[in-house]
């Protein structure tokens, strides 16, 4: 069976399994509910009197700190706890298909959650003249940012058989990755280190995308991060068979 076909089989299984339990619908409800509160209630949307969604998109890196590890925490940790990874890894599917399949399944869940926020642009468009370009760019960027966050979460889920540990680890690392930009501008940080930290900041690369400005460097950053953490995920599984 081809790598992509196996990956899609695993992705479908993960996507369906997520919505076979209340937790999946909680994830689906979390993003639109919290982003709407942050955008309309606590955010400056009405104060600025402009029909744009930038405030919503800028909150996504922080919302993803909680949301994306919640999507990925189960994916490997539960397989390990329940012993089903022994089934999965002894069926004739390549390791890369399994890792890619888990990632695509998680990405599908995140895409569904992002789709559930569609009420925001519809509401803003009803209130004023909404420019669709930045909105589409923002959603595109959110998928890229989310992909990198999910790949990191998957890697951490593969490192443990405890879902809570996987979630806490994912949230903590993502929080640090979102705060790197702040550390980069601190007085005590040497300039060379500041530049490195700024380049590694997950949120910083999303700022232009959230305005609808598509930069190849930002796209490449998220794709490289996604590939890096998926490769680490594969290495963890491979190493386990040698341990």
């Amino acid at each position: 069976m081809s790598t992509l076909r196996s990956a899609l089989l695993v992705a479908k299984r993960e996507f369906m399994a997520a919505f076979d339990a209340p937790a999946g619908y909680l994830v689906l409800a979390f993003l639109p509910a919290l982003s709407a509160v942050l955008f309309f209630v606590t955010g400056p949307f009405f104060a600025f009197d402009t029909a744009e969604l930038r405030g919503f998109f800028l909150s996504l890196p922080w919302l993803f700190v909680i949301l994306t590890p919640a999507i990925t925490m189960r994916l490997w940790a539960e397989e390990k706890r329940a012993g089903t990874e022994e089934l999965l890894l002894t069926w004739p599917m390549r390791l890369r298909s399994l890792v890619l399949g888990k990632f695509l399944g998680a990405w599908g869940i995140l895409a569904a959650a992002l789709f559930a926020t569609i009420g925001l642009p519809i509401t803003v468009a009803a209130l004023g003249d909404l420019d669709l370009g930045p909105v589409l760019g923002g959603y595109f960027g959110a998928l890229l940012l989310g992909g990198a966050c999910l790949a990191l979460g998957l890697f951490l889920s593969a490192c443990t058989d405890n879902q809570i540990v996987a979630w806490l680890g994912g949230a903590a690392v993502l929080l640090v990755l979102n705060l790197l930009g702040g550390a980069a501008t601190a007085e005590a940080t040497p300039p060379w280190l500041g530049r490195v930290l700024l380049e590694l900041d997950f949120g910083k690369h999303f700022e232009d995308l959230s305005r609808g400005v598509i930069s190849l460097a930002d796209i490449a950053f998220y794709l490289i991060m996604t590939a890096f953490f998926l490769a680490l995920n594969g290495l963890v599984l491979l190493r386990r068979s040698w341990s």
Partner: protein
């Protein structure tokens, strides 16, 4: 690459595996070699921790060996893992399943993972459902199925692609007596067409199913031979259940004084104040009456001296005693 010259479905040479944990090393397998021809039911027998599960996990592609070579249907498990996995059906120990899935969905998922599609997928599912008797629970969630049905579902996923080799790790573990009988009937049926490699520490299971036995102890092969050979009486291996109205310590020391080997304590065979029992092994030159006299000379009057089990049990207990 496939080696068409071999008729062996399983061929293992010098397989070794060491687990490292906290600086300590556990030699799970030490230069294990064995072969299994087509159409044979081979039982991996041994006490817990003997290396049975490690050996079959390496064959199934779940673990990598540190040294040695293992081939399934002529394909190397390390370099041709996908080919090997496509040719074997594997029921892991404790039968892990996706309990959130319905039996039907689980079998479809497993079948697609094995590359089946379309009418061949439907036929495969129909076949294994009939073979394993899953029709009654086909639409039920696995979490709602009894342990017996779950075990059948685990076996069904291993049979979907009609594999040449079936690997079953403790297939009757945790089943009730009726389910055990049913599972053994299934395995016996399957063994008529396929090579079956099963692990167990249940001796009646071996005697009921196996054509050949490989006995493991501490990762090493102790015995490898046809079941019938191992069931033949052996001079020098005689186990006795012994019971006497004295303390367990006195019974153990009297056994040693009489020149026999104390193997393990056992439950008293009948209700009597102060009665204790155990299992002992007599040296080859010693007859039972001679042992009884020696016990009495040591101050213990045996109230029971019963030869135990078959020769297979003797082999097993010998391996256990040497741990």
């Amino acid at each position: 690459m496939s080696d068409s010259s071999t008729e062996m479905v399983v061929s293992v040479q010098g397989l070794s595996k060491t687990y490292r944990s906290g600086g300590a090393e556990v030699h799970a397998l030490q230069s294990l070699s064995f072969e299994a021809p087509a159409g044979e039911i081979l039982a991996f027998l041994g006490p817990n921790g003997a290396g049975k599960t490690t050996a079959i996990r390496i064959l199934a592609g779940f673990l990598a060996a540190d040294a040695g070579q293992a081939k399934v249907c002529g394909f190397d498990v390390a370099s041709d893992s996908l080919e090997v996995r496509a040719r074997l059906g594997y029921l892991p120990e404790h039968n892990p399943l996706y309990l959130d899935m319905r039996v039907e969905d689980f079998l479809r998922f497993a079948a697609k993972a094995r590359g089946l599609a379309g009418s061949s997928l439907e036929q495969a599912i129909d076949r294994v459902v009939a073979q394993t008797g899953l029709a009654e629970v086909f639409r039920r969630r696995l979490s709602e199925c009894s342990k017996g049905y779950r075990q059948r579902a685990g076996l069904a996923q291993a049979l979907l692609h009609d594999p040449e080799l079936l690997i079953l790790d403790e297939p009757t573990n945790g089943l009730d007596p009726v389910q055990v009988v049913e599972m053994r009937r299934l395995v016996r049926e399957l063994g008529k067409e396929k090579t079956v490699l099963l692990t167990t520490h249940v001796l009646p299971e071996v005697e009921a199913l196996a054509d050949r036995v490989v006995l493991l102890r501490q990762g090493q092969k102790v015995v490898d031979g046809p079941l019938m050979d191992l069931q033949a009486p052996q001079a020098g291996l005689c186990q006795l259940a012994i019971a006497a109205q004295c303390s367990l310590a006195d019974l153990e020391s009297a056994t040693a004084a009489a020149g026999a080997t104390w193997l393990a304590p056992r439950a008293a065979p009948f209700a009597l104040e102060g009665l204790h029992a155990g299992l002992v092994e007599l040296p080859s030159a010693m007859a039972i009456p001679e042992f009884a006299q020696s016990l009495q000379a040591a101050g213990v009057l045996p109230l029971q001296l019963a030869p135990q089990g078959g020769p297979l049990e003797s082999w097993f207990l010998q391996a256990e005693a040497q741990r």
